[in-house]
Amino acid sequence: MNKFYRNIFIFIFAAPAFIVLIGVVFYPFIYNVVISFSNMNLSHIKDWHIVGPKQYVKVFTEPTEPTFFVIFLKTVIWTVVNVTFHVVLGVFLALLLNQKIRGRSVYRTLLILPWAIPQYIVALTWRGMFNYQYGSINLIITKYLHLPAVEWLKNPEEAFLSCILTNVWLGFPFMMVVALGALQSIPQELYEAADIDGASWYKKLTSITIPLIRPVMIPAITLGIVWTFNNLNIVWLVSNGGEPSDKTHILVSFVYKAAFNLYRYGYAAALSMVIFFILLVMSLTFMKSTKATEAAY
């Protein structure tokens, strides 16, 4: 009898989990796979049928402007540049904050701000700041640095740079907070012992600090890579949907446009699958390669 009740209890608790998984993960995923092999688009929204891997072929071969490979390369640049700056700035600021200095908690609070503000407000505000004539960035450049104003949002390169700057600003606090937590858990005795041995500042950083914050930073960096690769908000809102002329897209904003502005559902579903596999392979190799070097310590 007791066992019977226990099973009922397990069922009551596990059932929502399964319903959720089926509704939220499996069903959309499978549906997405089905659409990716179909010809669904705005004119074939109800009477679609399976057409085989045609959409996948289109993803790689269609001469869209820009092509898949150009956008992919841009996405890689976007991810690498952003995550690198996030980690370097985050760890650097965490090291500064991890000393006994006056006003530490005030600095910490102010430096977390970019993470706390809703992303769409960040994006729209920075878009305003990048305005050619009235944006404060150009005003600072011309008034204080006496340099010529920059056409931030009109030229493809500058517009892409604007997106990156916004995202770097937005992302470093996360890494800073994670690194700070890791730094605080390093026992102080290690540094004292190193001091007695006469270790230099640099030696302490590479032999104590970095190896010891690594286990915490690796998962955070993996998360950071996935988030950045998939960050639709910033690119979409800062560049106003890929302006100028679709030259600022990363893969996720390009596929969003294909799905919701151009109504190419089959194509968008196929491209989504491709993005998912790229991301999966990338994070798995990243986790693996960092594990491999971990064993070397």
Binding site: V24, S136, K143, G181, S272
Partner: protein, 280 residues
């Protein structure tokens, strides 16, 4: 001796200088929003860099509440966000418990697939859901957006809850059982109160997902009467010259409560994030 002291002094000064510089960079865009919101309507486009503009006025704030549907957007956003939070916390606290305590068929695969959802590009869930909502006739309804938001927030919430339950010893439930609680009582009298920090993180995360989301809302809510705050604010921005002041005022009002909440809870949020991911 003195040179060493001097060196230390300079090092401290340099540290403060760098921190002040970065603090200014972090705060500056927020100050920008303040400035914009205080500008008089004939000076919205100004090339001045002053923080408090000349002839500063609160007119944008007043107009926001009197002749703009701002309060309607607040109400819509609150309705959607609170529903998403309650559903998310309820479902995640139960599902997380099942994943943490019981061994059932498909448990490992379930956990793995939750992790995989984090790598789905936004459109991968959004497009099938959007099409499903069309078939069900839920486009332009609160229910449609609530389902989508709950779906996006849930995997992370379940992971966080599961990770936290894992740190609570099973012996506590066993003790409660010996004291005469049944399994359900042991859960909600003993384990749930202990998991309060994780519940807070889960709740905050679900709330922020719904409160600050633009991309999904733009597809699902086309009727202006249903607009949430992000859609409303974007409409001000799109019309930069005339309504830029309204955008500033509205952003500030929307931002302040979320930012305060976030700053207060940020320590917990990070421990939850690392718990969820390290144990992955």
């Amino acid at each position: 001796m003195t040179s060493r002291k001097n060196k230390k002094y300079y090092l401290k000064a340099a540290t403060h200088a760098v921190l002040v510089l970065f603090a200014i960079i972090a705060v500056y865009p927020v100050l920008q929003v303040v400035t914009i919101s205080l500008r008089p309507s004939d000076k919205l486009l100004s090339t001045s860099l002053e923080i408090i503009p000349e002839n500063a006025t609160l007119k944008s704030y007043i107009s926001l509440f009197t002749d703009q549907p701002f309060l309607l957007w607040v109400r819509n956003s609150a309705l959607v966000s609170i529903t998403v939070t309650l559903t998310g916390v309820a479902l995640a606290s139960m599902s997380g418990y099942a994943f943490s305590r019981f061994n059932f068929i498909g448990r490992r695969m379930g956990l793995l697939s939750l992790l995989l959802t984090q790598m789905f590009p936004a459109t991968m869930l959004l497009l099938p859901m959007y099409l499903m909502l069309i078939y069900l006739g839920l486009i332009n309804t609160y229910l449609g957006i609530i389902i989508t938001y709950t779906a996006t927030a849930l995997p992370f919430c379940i992971w966080t809850m599961k990770g936290y339950y894992d740190t609570i010893p099973v012996s506590l439930e066993e003790a409660a059982r010996i004291d005469g609680c049944n399994q359900f009582e042991a859960f909600y009298r003993v384990i749930l109160p202990l998991a309060a920090p994780a519940l807070v993180i889960t709740g905050l995360f679900s709330f922020m997902t719904a409160w600050s989301e633009y991309i999904v809302a733009a597809q699902i809510l086309q009727d202006t009467a249903l607009w949430t705050l992000p859609l409303g604010l974007k409409s001000f921005e799109a019309n930069m010259s005339t309504e830029w002041g309204l955008y500033g005022a509205a952003s500030l009002i929307v931002m302040v409560p979320v930012v305060v909440l976030f700053l207060v809870l940020s320590r917990w949020l990070v421990s939850g994030l690392t718990l969820g991911s390290v144990k992955g």
